[in-house]
Structures are given as structure tokens and as C-alpha cells.
């Protein structure tokens, strides 16, 4: 046996570590649930969960926090995934919360990213979930860089960044009281490039908006916004048809596309490897407000 044969590559190591975390949580918690937006990170997470329990089915439901401002391609992808894997899908609807008066919106087309928190916490409470898998990665944002793999939330769903449980070796402490819950981030140590390299290697199916396609867009404050029912053409602006793709999938009113000719995985990886702007900076209007935008949202209970 050659010694080289008893080593794992970086991607295989990441895969093994994530599977370990997912199994650990399913073994120790009573009602785990996985957030699923149809975005690449949640697609990866669900894919790893399938690997963790194969040949048995994924032993927990998934939840989509639905802002109502969706890309139709993503919803179609979500429903197809649920059907193929025979998953139980829970939808936490922001619109329902607005209709019930629990969320006040200034304008029907303002970004609802922040409003997802209310719907999410309501969904967690109603479902009695004690562990919630999220696809957050530490390379995404400075506040997320400080996040634990198992992250405690009090009964109001709040995160206290200054009072986090130390996390050593792989000895995760998910102990909690009733009403409290734990957020779990099994792909914490993956970078955007790792995610793409792995999805490409495994040839995982993604919503088509992740690859270059022609779309009517308009440039607003440096973001390429798709013109549609959620983003009407601003006065005096001319849209143009361009080849674009999305680096993240979020609320359609605030998620921008990037110029791209990458129609397949190989090309996306090549573009990602030389990109000089973070995926959130390039595509999320709401993360550019302040240096602590994510930290503030997370403290309130955001994913």
C-alpha cells in the first residue's frame, strides 16, 4: 500500500467533516430541520445530508423561508428536489407574516431579506425544531467568521456573539433548554471556491440562474438587477440584455447578478478563482449598508 493512498484531499476532508457534524446533530437532537433556499450552499448541505444517511433517506424535513420575491427557476428547482428525494417541505412565508400584521413593510417591493427572521423564528417555534441546519460559511462575512459550528440561540432566537460556547476538537455541545435552539453550520469551513469545486466534481444539479444566461437587467448602484415584477424599471433608466449569472440566491428585489459568460461549472470555477469581489459584496444590496449589517441581523435571529 502506497502511503499516498491513506490521505484525503481537501475536498474529501471537508466532506467528511461536514458529514460528521450532520450525523452528530441528528443523533443528539429530537427535531432537527434544514433550511433550504435552493441556493448553492443549501443545495450542497442537502447533498451532504443525503450522503450522511445513505442508503436511508434524509431523516429530517427542510424549510424554505419564502420572501415571496422569488426567482421562478429557484422555486421550480425546490419543488423538483422535494419530489425527487421524497422530502417533507415546510414553507415559512414572509407574506403570511405581513398579512397577519407581524411584519410592517414600508413598500411592497422593499427587500425582505431582513424580514425573513420573523418568519424563520415563527417557523422554528411552530415546528418545535431544536436544531436548524443553515448553509452559512465563515468566509462569507466577518460576523460569520466568528460563528460556531453549533451556535446557541435563546428562546427569542437571538445570537450573543460575545458569549459563545467554546468549540474544541469535534466535541460539539448542543445542550439546551426547551424553547431554545441550536443553529448548525455544517459547511462553515468551505469557501465559495470549495463549494463550486465540489458541486462540479460531484456534478450536482443547481438552479439554472447560477449559470450564464441572457436577461434584461439594469445597473443600480453597481448591482445588475433583473427587471421583473419585483424590480420594476426605475424611472429614466434603460434596460439592456446581457449575459449574466447569479453568485447568490436571495430576495429578488435586492439580489444582483454579475456579468458572466460561464455557462457550465468549469467556467464558473474559472471566474470564481479570479474574482476580486466577495459574493455578498457583488450581489447583495443589503449587506453593503454597514460593516456590521450581518452581525446585527444575526443577533436578531437571521441565519
Amino acid at each position: 500500500m502506497r502511503p499516498a493512498a491513506i490521505e484525503l484531499s481537501d475536498l474529501d476532508t471537508l466532506e467528511a467533516e461536514s458529514i460528521h457534524i450532520i450525523r452528530e446533530v441528528v443523533a443528539e437532537f429530537e427535531h432537527p430541520m434544514m433550511l433550504f433556499s435552493g441556493g448553492k450552499d443549501s443545495v450542497l448541505m442537502l447533498y451532504l445530508a443525503r450522503k450522511a444517511f445513505a442508503p436511508a433517506p434524509v431523516p429530517f424535513p427542510i424549510m424554505h423561508v419564502d420572501t415571496g420575491h422569488n426567482f421562478p427557476e429557484v422555486i421550480e428547482f425546490r419543488d423538483r428536489t422535494v419530489a425527487e428525494l421524497a422530502l417533507r417541505l415546510e414553507v415559512a412565508s414572509v407574506q403570511e407574516q405581513i398579512d397577519a400584521g407581524r411584519i410592517k413593510v414600508g413598500h411592497p417591493l422593499e427587500s425582505r431579506n431582513r424580514h425573513q427572521t420573523v418568519a424563520l423564528l415563527e417557523g422554528i417555534k411552530n415546528g418545535g425544531f431544536d436544531a436548524v441546519f443553515g448553509g452559512g460559511r465563515r468566509d462569507e462575512d466577518k460576523a460569520r467568521a466568528k460563528e460556531r459550528v453549533l451556535s446557541f440561540r435563546d428562546k427569542f432566537g437571538q445570537w450573543d456573539p460575545k458569549n459563545q460556547r467554546p468549540e474544541l476538537w469535534r466535541l460539539y455541545n448542543g445542550r439546551h433548554q426547551k424553547g431554545e435552539h441550536i443553529r448548525v453550520f455544517p459547511i462553515s469551513d468551505w469557501t465559495e471556491l470549495d463549494v463550486w469545486r465540489y458541486l462540479a466534481r460531484e456534478n450536482v444539479d443547481l438552479p439554472p440562474i447560477y449559470f450564464a444566461h441572457e436577461r434584461e437587467v439594469v445597473e443600480v448602484e453597481g448591482l445588475l438587477m433583473a427587471v421583473n415584477e419585483f424590480f420594476p424599471l426605475p424611472d429614466g433608466m434603460e434596460p439592456s440584455r446581457q449575459m449574466v449569472r447569479y453568485r447568490t440566491v436571495g430576495d429578488a428585489t435586492s439580489t444582483g447578478a454579475v456579468e458572466s459568460t460561464a455557462v457550465d461549472y468549469e467556467a464558473v470555477i474559472a471566474e470564481t478563482a479570479v474574482s476580486r469581489i466577495t459574493e455578498r459584496g457583488a450581489t447583495r444590496g443589503d449587506d453593503r449598508f454597514s460593516e456590521a449589517a450581518m452581525e446585527d441581523r444575526k443577533k436578531e435571529g437571521y441565519f
Binding site: 499516498a4 491513506i6 490521505e7 484525503l8 484531499s9 481537501d10 475536498l11 476532508t13 466532506e15 467528511a16 467533516e17 458529514i19 460528521h20 450525523r23 452528530e24 441528528v26 443523533a27 443525503r50 450522503k51 450522511a52 444517511f53 445513505a54 442508503p55 436511508a56 433517506p57 465563515r138 468566509d139 462575512d141 466577518k142 460576523a143 460569520r144 467568521a145 466568528k146 456573539p161 460575545k162 460556547r165 467554546p166 468549540e167 474544541l168 476538537w169 469535534r170 466535541l171 455541545n173 445542550r175 439546551h176 433548554q177 462553515s188 469551513d189 469557501t191 470549495d194 474574482s275 476580486r276 469581489i277 466577495t278 459584496g281 457583488a282 453593503r288 460593516e291 456590521a292 452581525e295
Partner: protein
């Protein structure tokens, strides 16, 4: 194949750690433009003179506003060879727990020293914690070399200082690099300002450090994490034990034992989602299927019948206290997590508190508070299947949680089982400590003397450099307060072996006698460093067997200097005489040398590296 390397760093802003990390990220193109412009804005807002790269790692609002690092931050960068994960932690004593956290999963610890200030208390503390947490590799960066005119003497002095301190700790692999993080010297590119430094720049060291052997691939350990039973028609009889391999190499067809039941079976198949594999090793996450239907659940341990972990409900450990809101209460109930199980436990005794700056042991300590480190004895309600932490960082580690608050209050590293364990009817104890009522046991001797004996056996041709390495190793050990003694083959021939010549049988007897002396010295707690040509494998193996039988560590070190080089050196003129026909049976010329097949160590040609390697054997 690209590998993953986890690095732990610690330090304050002053020593340039953030600048170094910023430099590594920047030069490997891992900083994005929008991140840079965001921290530039913050720097301007705060009134900094220049952009503070520390802002890249300080992620929380409070950290940025106060200009301090509070918590562990993770940073990522990659080169074509490796993906790196940096756990970056603050260096002050009040953040000991953060450093411990960062070091727990690290393969390499990166320490920084300001060339103008030299080795400080903080440097020593971080080195101690790295050694306590068994981080396998340590690199000391002597930073700000630009501010001392790239002076080699200053670098050498710091290097010497740190080496002699490190000799007191158990550090396996220690490297040094003189750098300027600000100017970029020796970080990514070799510095033209320090032509005297012949080592690799830092990034090259990080890319090349050999990490594959850091895992324990000998002692097979598989804590069962989850039982997979699909309950579907297609997989009706499927019963798989899912988990991560944390030690050894499991192969299909291996006979295995399950603890605590001690039932044995054979591995029928090792499943991964991508199909069955022939073998599984750390850190693979797999699913094992056994030939026999055994009752196995989460928390059980699969191992080999011939190689089991200790099973005991009492053990000794070093713990670091993490909780600000409570202090250690001996006798109080805690929840202990070890591998894949939670178990009720109490700390029976606090043996001492370790002062991480002076290494002083305070035997009168009554409790441990946040950031304190101490040695304790722990009692669990049922036996734990563990290994010493130094042998396995997974099966040797645990955390304690307070059942009232659910907080993680401490982290621990197991030193070993504590004597006998009252296990009642369910005797599963594989206690590896033998107690001899008639005489002092090695453990008792070690406890009393605070040191452990061993034999380091250096073999190689005449002129290979054995004695030089042995003398330097002896010097360092004795200098650090450890009892070591060099047994030099030439010197012994003047006394103990004066009656022996160089025939094959005389040589064998020579080796036997030196082996016996070394074993006795090691037994008494001395590190015996033998420097002897000892050309025959058989004779060396006998010495090894005698040590093994007595349970004494024996390290065969092959000083592998080529014959040409030994002959060129010819310090005793022996090769010249042999070539001239004056002596007939010189090893390598007229008499064969049988090189060791699997020595514990084959030394590096560089003397300093070789000495460090030899000392590394003892840790």
C-alpha cells in the same frame, strides 16, 4: 492532491500577527477588493494612520470599535498545494481559552516574535499551550527583521533562546523563519535581505510540512455515531454503523471488537455514499457493516480485539477552565462529552494548578477559574474507552458541561488511567498499568522523579556524525533539566568492553552489553543516548526486544550518511587505514553494514535538524 492544513495563531496586534495574516491573504490573492475598501473606510473613520489589516480578522462590532480581538476568527486561503484554515486568536492571558480552542484542531501553530523584543512571556505561554494541546508542528516567525537591519545574530539569539525553552516542552517539530510581514521578507518570496537564511520562506514551509503522519494510523478506533437502518423494502436488512474513523486503518475482512460488549465480528463491508471501499482511515466518515448481528449503538467503540483503548471510569487529565460564571467544584456533577457520548462525571481531585508562565505547579490550588489550567482526576458513572491524549487527540479529549447552565465549562486532555477501577460486575477494564507490590513501578518512579527514561539508539557508519548528534542532544536535555547520558561506543571500549575485539561475535557482545547498560539506565529514569556503529540488524533487534519486554521506550535512529561522505570526513583516519590495508574489517569497507529497515527515525543531514528530530522522539 490538494490537502487541508489547519493553523492556529495567537498574539497581539503589536507583534505583527494581523499584518502577517493580512500579508498571507493578500499575497495569495485571498482578500477581496470590497473587503479591503470596507476596512480602509473603517480605518479612516477611526483615525488610523494606515489601513489596519487586523480589521480583516476582527469581525465583531465591539472588536472593530475597540481595536481588539475577542474571539477566535477563522480565515481561509489556498495555494495550488493546500487549502489553509487559520484559527486566529488573541494572545493575552485572559484569552487562554480561545488559544486552547484554536489549537485543539490545529496541525500547526504559528508563533510570532518581535525581533526587537525577543521571546516574551506571551510567546512562551503560546508554546506551552501548543505543546499541551499536542499541535504537531510549531513554526516560530521572528518578525520585524527589517527593524533590526536583518541582523543574523539577533535572529540566532532568539532562535537559541526559544530552542532551549522549547526543550522543556514536548514539541515534536519546531521550525524557525526570519521575516518581515510588513515588507514581505520570507513570507511568500525568499528575502534578498537575508541571504544568510537558507531555509524556506514561511508559505513554502506551510505548504510542505508533512502532516499525513500526524494521525495515529496504528490503533484502530471507530466511535459509533449513528446507526443507519433504512427500513425500506430495498434495504430491509441493512444495518450500518456510521461514524468517523479516529485512529488506525480499518480494512474489509478485519476482525473487530465492539466495546463495551466485547463481542467480536468481522468487517463485512465499509460503505461510503460513493460505494464500498477497501479501507477507511482518519478522518474518513464511513458506515461499517459487520458479518454478525450485534447489538451496537451510539457511544460504542469499534476497535481490534488485540488493540483496545483503556476502559476505565477513573482517569487523570489536564483541564483548561473556560467558564467565566463558575469555577471548578470538585465532587459536583458535570456532564462529560467524550467521542460520541455524554456521561455524568465528577472531578474527584484537583492535583495542582499549572502556572502557564512559570510552569510552576501550585499543589495548594483549591479551584480553577476561567483560563486556568490544572491537573485533575475524574470519575465517570460508567467506563470511558479512551487513549492517552498524546497518542490520540480524539479518543484522548473531552469537554465538561455544567448541567445547570448547559455551558461548556472545561476542556480536558487525558493523561492516563488512574490505578485500579472498581467496575463492579461488568468487568471491561483493560488496564495497561501493571502494579508490582514488591518494587517501584515505572509509573511510581516517573511520578516521583517527574521524568521518564528511554533509550535512543544511534546507528550508522563510522564518521556518520552519530556522536556529534548524540552529544548535542545530551547537552540540550541536560541543559533543560532532564537526566540524559551518552553511551559512546568508542569510550566504552576503553572500560566495560576493553576485552572485546572486532570479530563478528565480539561485535555482537559489544552491542549486547551496551544495550543492557542502556536499558538499566533508562529503567532508572535516565535518557540513554547510545552512539554505536552496531552494524548488524539482528543484534540491534535483540536490544529492542529486551527494551520492549521491560516496557521501556526504544528509539532506533539511523544516521544515514553515505559512505563517500563518511570517508571524506574520516575523523579518526580509519577509512584511510582500511584503504591502505592496515585494518581489514572496518564496517562499510571490509565488513558489511545492515541498515535498519524501519528505524523510528532517519536523521536529516543538517546537524541542528537532526538534533531536533532526535529530541522530538521523546515527546
Amino acid at each position: 492532491m490538494s490537502q487541508l492544513l489547519r493553523i492556529a495563531t495567537a498574539g497581539s496586534v503589536d507583534d505583527g500577527k494581523s499584518t502577517l495574516i493580512g500579508r498571507l491573504l493578500h499575497d495569495t490573492k485571498s482578500i477581496f477588493e470590497d473587503q479591503l475598501s470596507a476596512i480602509e473606510q473603517t480605518s479612516v473613520k477611526r483615525g488610523d494612520e494606515q489601513t489596519d489589516l487586523a480589521l480583516l480578522t476582527d469581525g465583531l462590532r465591539a472588536e472593530r470599535e475597540q481595536g481588539i480581538t475577542i474571539d477566535v476568527a477563522h480565515r481561509y486561503f489556498a495555494t495550488p498545494k493546500r487549502k489553509f484554515v487559520i484559527a486566529d486568536t488573541p494572545g493575552h492571558i485572559q484569552y487562554t481559552r480561545n488559544m486552547v480552542t484554536g489549537a485543539s484542531t490545529a496541525s500547526l501553530a504559528l508563533l510570532l516574535v518581535d525581533a526587537r523584543k525577543g521571546v516574551l512571556e506571551q510567546t512562551r505561554r503560546h508554546a506551552l499551550l501548543s505543546s499541551l494541546l499536542r499541535v504537531p508542528h510549531l513554526v516560530l516567525c521572528v518578525n520585524k527583521m527589517d527593524l533590526v537591519d536583518y541582523d543574523q545574530e539577533i535572529y540566532e539569539e532568539i532562535r537559541h533562546d526559544f530552542t532551549s525553552f522549547a526543550a522543556k516542552l514536548e514539541i515534536t517539530d519546531l521550525d524557525f523563519v526570519p521575516i518581515s510581514a510588513l515588507a514581505g521578507d520570507n513570507v511568500v518570496e525568499r528575502s534578498l535581505n537575508m541571504p544568510w537564511f537558507d531555509g524556506q520562506p514561511l508559505l513554502g514551509q506551510l505548504e510542505d510540512v508533512h502532516i499525513a503522519s500526524d494521525r495515529n494510523l496504528v490503533d484502530n478506533r471507530f466511535p459509533v455515531q449513528y446507526v443507519i437502518r433504512p427500513q425500506s423494502a430495498e434495504h430491509r436488512d441493512y444495518r450500518g454503523f456510521a461514524g468517523s474513523v479516529v485512529g488506525g486503518i480499518f480494512k474489509q475482512g478485519d476482525e473487530v471488537m465492539v466495546l463495551p460488549s466485547r463481542k467480536t465480528s468481522t468487517i463485512d463491508r465499509i460503505d461510503t455514499p460513493d460505494g464500498a471501499v477497501d479501507q477507511a482511515f482518519p478522518p474518513m466518515a464511513v458506515t461499517m457493516l459487520l458479518e454478525d448481528e450485534l447489538d451496537i449503538s451510539r457511544g460504542d467503540m469499534i476497535c481490534r480485539p488485540t488493540n483496545q483503548p483503556s476502559a476505565n471510569n477513573r482517569f487523570e487529565a489536564m483541564i483548561c477552565w473556560f467558564d467565566e460564571t463558575s469555577s471548578l467544584r470538585t465532587g459536583a456533577p458535570y456532564q462529560l462529552k467524550h467521542t460520541t457520548k455524554w456521561i455524568a462525571a465528577e472531578v474527584e481531585t484537583l492535583r495542582y494548578e499549572l502556572n502557564v508562565d512559570s510552569l510552576h505547579r501550585d499543589l495548594d490550588a483549591e479551584t480553577l477559574e476561567v483560563n486556568d489550567i490544572g491537573r485533575v482526576s475524574i470519575h465517570t458513572t460508567s467506563p470511558l474507552f479512551f487513549d492517552e491524549y498524546r497518542l490520540n487527540r480524539t479518543t484522548g479529549s473531552f469537554i465538561l458541561a455544567d448541567p445547570a447552565t448547559n455551558l461548556t465549562v472545561a476542556a480536558g486532555m487525558i493523561i492516563g488511567a488512574a490505578g485500579e477501577s472498581p467496575t463492579g460486575t461488568h468487568s471491561v477494564v483493560a488496564d495497561n498499568i501493571t502494579f508490582h507490590p514488591s518494587s517501584l513501578s515505572r509509573e511510581e518512579r516517573r511520578e516521583a522523579l517527574g521524568t521518564n527514561g528511554a533509550t535512543i539508539w544511534m546507528t550508522g557508519l563510522s564518521g556518520s556524525g552519530k556522536s556529534t548528534i548524540a552529544a548535542a542532544a545530551e547537552h540540550t536535555l541536560v541543559g533543560s533539566g532532564r537526566n540524559a547520558y551518552m553511551l559512546d561506543g568508542d569510550n566504552l571500549r576503553h572500560g566495560l568492553n576493553a576485552d572485546l575485539g572486532f570479530s563478528e561475535s565480539d561485535r555482537a557482545e559489544n552491542v549486547r552489553r551496551v544495550g543492557e547498560v542502556a536499558r538499566l539506565m533508562a529503567e532508572s529514569g535516565v535518557v540513554a543516548i547510545v552512539s554505536l556503529v552496531s552494524p548488524f540488524k539482528d543484534a540491534r533487534d535483540k536490544v529492542r526486544a529486551a527494551h520492549q519486554a521491560a516496557g521501556i521506550p526504544f528509539y532506533e535512529v539511523f544516521v544515514d550518511t553515505p559512505l563517500e561522505e563518511c570517508e571524506r570526513r574520516d575523523p579518526k583516519g580509519l577509512y584511510a587505514k582500511a584503504r591502505a590495508g592496515e585494518i581489514t574489517d572496518l564496517t562499510g569497507v571490509g565488513s558489511p553494514y545492515e541498515a535498519p529497515v524501519t528505524p523510528e527515525l532517519t536523521t536529516d543531514p543538517d546537524l541542528e535538524t537532526a538534533v531536533r528530530q532526535v529530541l522530538g522522539l521523546l515527546s
